[in-house]
């Protein structure tokens, strides 16, 4: 991997240089929320609590787990989450 590069902006520079985050959802009603356990200790405890609160509000929830916190999520898992969910909450436990 490179050491970081300086590139010249090819655009009309009308947008901010830093990439803009996707807009935050205004409400969760009608959205599917993915809960991603990255396989760190007690992440499941945190996500269990989140899940019960979301379900109490009538939000649909799906659970996912990375095989190991030490590596990025497998492509298949990322594709599955992006296909099934509009919002993801990740438990960065410790």
């Amino acid at each position: 991997m490179n050491k970081g590069m300086v590139l010249l902006d090819p655009t009309a520079e009308l947008a901010p240089a830093r990439r803009v985050r996707l807009p935050r959802p205004k409400e969760l009603a009608g959205q599917c929320v993915g809960l991603l356990d990255i396989s760190k200790a007690r992440g499941d405890v945190f996500l269990d609590e989140i899940e019960s609160r979301l379900r109490a509000d009538g939000v649909s929830v799906r659970r996912y787990q990375k095989p190991t916190f030490a590596r990025v999520a497998p492509v298949a898992l990322m594709q599955q989450i992006s296909a099934e969910c509009q919002v993801v909450i990740e438990a960065l436990a410790d």
Binding site: M1, N2, K3, G4, M5, V6, L7, L8, D9, P10, T11, A12, E13, L14, A17, R19
Partner: protein, 479 residues
């Protein structure tokens, strides 16, 4: 260390034999009481045991003094250069220093060696480092963990294929391809109506994979795209297939190695591929014309990645497109056409021009829809084997066009809605008229292609051709 305002400066390097040879002369100059500053490009310990050698391994002085070869002797007076000798030439060195008899023991002259500051690939870095060039574009720093190719994708800068990351050095090299100032505005690019400078064109040309020598062609293409007659904004926004097709004429096309022959519309030629792509990247990045946003094409065409070719002028039976439009034979031009794709014409049996013209007319009739007249313009691209038929029969381009115009007069009864069982067509009120397939000036003819194959091609245009939409435009290429 700065160069003194008065005295002599010698720029040299150890690896140059001539520099080694003149060291005794340098001692002579000092012995005569003349102030002398020595800048060494490769080794501050050269000349051996010489006190106070200026370390110019970073080449700052060499760059600012515009050293082309070493040794170079310069006389400075009041901070200004007043004389210079390059390499060893006894008479010149004596004239510059004013020392009679200088270097009598050396040969009369010896050429020097190339300066390190002009080594290939280094000049642009030095220009950036020492302020010889200023680039206005915003700098985007990619994080150390981010692959630079992916960074370009992530920022939405690409057409779906990888781009060459536009680093400062690459852009400076690209700008060397034109004599225009980097801050000159080439045009206003829709839909954002953003001013596009030569520098922005160069950045996108780097990304497209252009060589610097292609840059003047890309700039001319951007200029042409910005002409009101071309109607780029509408062309971008249309649901129809079209995008800009670039046809290059003149010596510049041959000089940069553009393809006008075998597979002229196809892949494999860097100039064809990257010039067309650079225009599309300018439209995307500077203008903000992105598919799914302002670009609403239902299906589009693969030509929207790139569609650029040169006319085969040397093998053509006719005058070129550029000459036809009033340019001198030696002029290089870029023609832009709102093209929708390539429609093949197959005719392996016609050996007389009348038969071939009829084949062309039958195929041209179907552009957009066989029942729709005067909507889409077209370029008829005649290949060498078909061109030979016209040459042998003595048909000029004007005669072919005239015959096609006659053959493409269509009875309104064949075109009205419902005729031949097709709802598409012209209003019933036109049933008793005769209508031309193409508006006046809507059919152009050029020559290109490989020497084997009795095929020609139609590049069909946008259904909003002419004054109501896009007209093909031509611009002369300036260095």
């Amino acid at each position: 260390m700065e160069i003194p305002a008065d005295g002599f400066v010698v720029v040299c390097k150890r690896e140059c034999a001539t520099c080694g040879m003149v060291v005794p002369v340098l001692s002579e100059i000092v012995d005569k009481g003349k102030p002398l500053t020595i800048c060494s490009q490769d080794d501050p310990a050269f000349p051996d045991e010489w006190p106070g050698v200026v370390d110019d391994t970073a080449l700052a002085h060499s760059y600012r003094l515009a050293i082309e070869a070493v040794p170079t002797l310069i006389r400075m007076q009041n901070g200004m250069e007043t004389a210079r000798a390059v390499g060893w030439d006894r008479a010149e060195w004596q004239a510059v220093t004013g020392i009679e008899g200088l270097g009598e023991d050396l040969p009369q002259s010896r050429p020097g060696c190339g300066s390190r500051s002009v080594e290939p690939g280094l000049a642009e870095e030095l220009a950036l480092r020492y302020g010889g060039v200023r680039l206005a574009a915003r700098r985007i720093e990619t994080p150390s963990h981010e692959d630079e190719m992916e960074a370009c994708f992530a920022r939405g800068w690409t057409d779906g294929l990888p781009v060459v990351p536009p680093t400062e050095v690459r852009v400076v090299r690209m700008l060397a391809g034109t004599r225009r100032s980097s801050d000159e505005v080439v045009g206003i690019i829709p839909p954002n109506q953003a001013a596009c400078t030569v520098e922005k064109v160069a950045i996108n040309a780097v990304m497209a994979g252009c060589k610097p020598e292609y840059l003047p062609i890309v700039i001319a293409a951007v200029e042409a795209a910005c002409l009101d007659a071309f109607c780029l904004h509408g062309l971008l926004a249309t649901t129809y297939f079209s995008g800009p097709v670039i046809i290059v004429n003149g010596p510049m096309a041959r000089a940069v190695g553009m393809n006008s022959g075998v597979n002229a519309f196809g892949q494999g030629n860097r100039a064809n591929a990257t010039i067309g792509r650079a225009l599309q990247l300018v439209v995307r990045n500077v203008g903000g014309g992105r598919p799914g946003e302002i670009d609403r094409a239902t299906l589009g065409t693969p030509g929207k990645y790139t569609f650029c070719f040169a006319e085969d002028e040397t093998g053509s039976p006719w005058e070129s497109l550029a000459v036809e439009r009033g340019f001198a034979r030696g002029a290089s031009t870029v023609t832009l056409f709102a093209g929708s794709g390539v429609q093949p014409i197959f005719d392996q049996h016609s050996r007389d021009p009348e038969s071939l013209a009829r084949t062309y007319a039958a195929c041209l009739r179907t552009v957009a829809h066989p029942k729709i007249p005067m909507a889409a313009d077209a370029f008829l691209v005649v290949s060498p084997e078909h061109g030979r038929v016209f040459r042998q029969a003595g048909w000029t381009k004007a005669r072919l066009r005239e015959r096609l115009d006659e053959l493409l007069q269509i009875p309104g009864a064949d075109l009205v809605r419902g005729a031949h069982g097709m709802a598409e067509g012209v209003p019933e009120s036109l049933a008793h008229t005769t209508l031309p397939k193409f508006r006046p000036g809507g059919l152009d003819i050029v020559h290109a292609g490989g020497t084997a194959g009795m095929f020609s091609a139609i590049i069909s245009g946008w259904v909003a051709s002419g004054a109501k939409g896009s007209q093909s435009v031509i611009k002369e290429i300036r260095q």
